[in-house]
Symmetry: C2
Subunit: 259 residues, 2 copies
């Protein structure tokens, strides 16, 4: 296995670029994944791995995970600790990295009888990732992302614990249009709002599929998306807290829709 030592090696710089830039990820169609378990799970679940990097310590410590990766990837490199520090997103890196291909929305068709959350402008990638994790655990049929929600952000990938690479994730350019189209397919479309006048999520009834929109942490759902939805729903609050954290709210919404 070829050894890459320098932090300024072109392959190392490219890996760091993919980790740092959402627009570069979109332009290149690739993303950087970090962590022995996450990389191994991705390779095993059919994500296309373009290139892998391992530190010397990782090669001995995570041998079984790394075997799953090297068997499914043509280009594998050993890298120095300095190079690993350049591309790592964590303070305490395991020294295992993969460059993977972004899936071509191959599960991009919505199932009109399924249950989905749609994330609009979620700002904190830890929330994006945690919502994917909750959605998979609770058994939703998929996630719709729009408006700068990037599931391939390193923090989002870590928080998702692999769920975003296993689930159906539909990336849409214009959420209001997508919502309108879902409504025409007979799906119930919901805008979640922190507004006591909206319908209680516990009282929502539906016979076909549902898409429930969750908005930005500070500003909520855009007016255009709210207008495209059939109903406004809310999680009734009792305390003095003005609202729930976006990922706590999404977990409760998903839970109630699956109930």
């Amino acid at each position: 296995m070829e050894l890459l030592v320098s932090r300024s090696n072109e392959k190392i710089k490219y890996a760091a670029l993919l980790g740092n830039s959402s627009s570069e990820r979109a332009r290149r169609g690739e993303f950087l994944l970090e962590g022995a378990r996450l990389c191994s799970d991705a390779a095993l679940s059919g994500i296309s791995v373009v290139r892998a990097f391992f530190t010397a310590q990782a090669l001995s410590r995570y041998e079984s995970y790394i075997r799953e990766i090297t068997g499914r990837c043509d280009e594998c490199f050993e890298i120095s600790d300095e190079a690993a520090a350049k591309i790592s997103d964590t303070g305490n890196s395991q020294g295992v990295f993969c460059i993977c291909k972004i899936r071509d929305n191959k599960n991009g068709e919505i199932n009109p009888t399924g249950i989905y959350l749609a994330l609009e402008n979620i700002q904190d990638p830890a929330n994006t990732g945690a919502i994917c994790r909750s959605a998979e655990a609770i058994g939703l049929d998929g996630i719709i992302v729009s408006g700068g929600c990037d599931i391939y952000n390193p923090t989002a990938l870590r928080a998702a614990m692999g769920s975003s690479l296993r689930m159906s994730v539909i990336s849409v350019a214009c959420l209001p249009d997508f919502i309108s189209e879902a409504g025409r397919k007979g799906m119930l479309t919901l805008a979640s709002v922190p507004d006591a006048g909206a319908e209680d999520i516990r009282k929502i009834k539906f016979t076909s599929g549902v898409v429930c929109c969750v908005g930005n942490e500070g500003n909520g759902i855009t007016r255009e998306t709210a207008d495209a939805c059939e109903k406004k729903v809310t999680i009734p609050m009792r305390g003095r807290a003005e609202s729930l954290n976006a990922s706590a709210a999404a977990a409760i919404l998903a839970w109630e829709l699956k109930r």
Copy 2:
């Protein structure tokens, strides 16, 4: 208002120490709070503010918030941007800081007919804070913290959005003993576990109060605490995700107990 310029001023160093060290917070009985809204809310809700610091920009930008603080605090200082950077926990500080007294567990008595979450060894302070926020919004009667869960950690304070300073928070040295005592008072005591064999949280019935324990992100609840609880409960999972994020799980548990 006296101006403190140097990063190595004793008062600045002390503020930074309180921000960085959980053991110093416990030893001194004080904590550092950051943010215009958070500091103002704390002062207004009766938290004892020992000392406040504001940058010049903050004094003009957050005048109304700062007025609430200065009216309830003897020692106020203007500080330089360098000093603010030394004590700030965020990349984008508002330049408003208070040193506050830790409350003397004044609400430390549990209400035997109330609904509580007990946090054991939660590692990520963002989870600790988010759980406090959810607990208040959903209307629980309080939170019990043990085993290194520190609600006065700067990240936890920020994630809690002030809820942890308004709610009843009971800090206990030995959670298993506390749980046993709660059981003797007639409360239902629950250990939440990611175990399909445990009782479904939706089927739990109770006539008096409840304490539901939430454990460490990686290792769950300690054996001692699980043994002290009357029942094990779980949130049924459907996907391939092994478990929910601790704060998502806590939100759903709190939601179901209040349902």
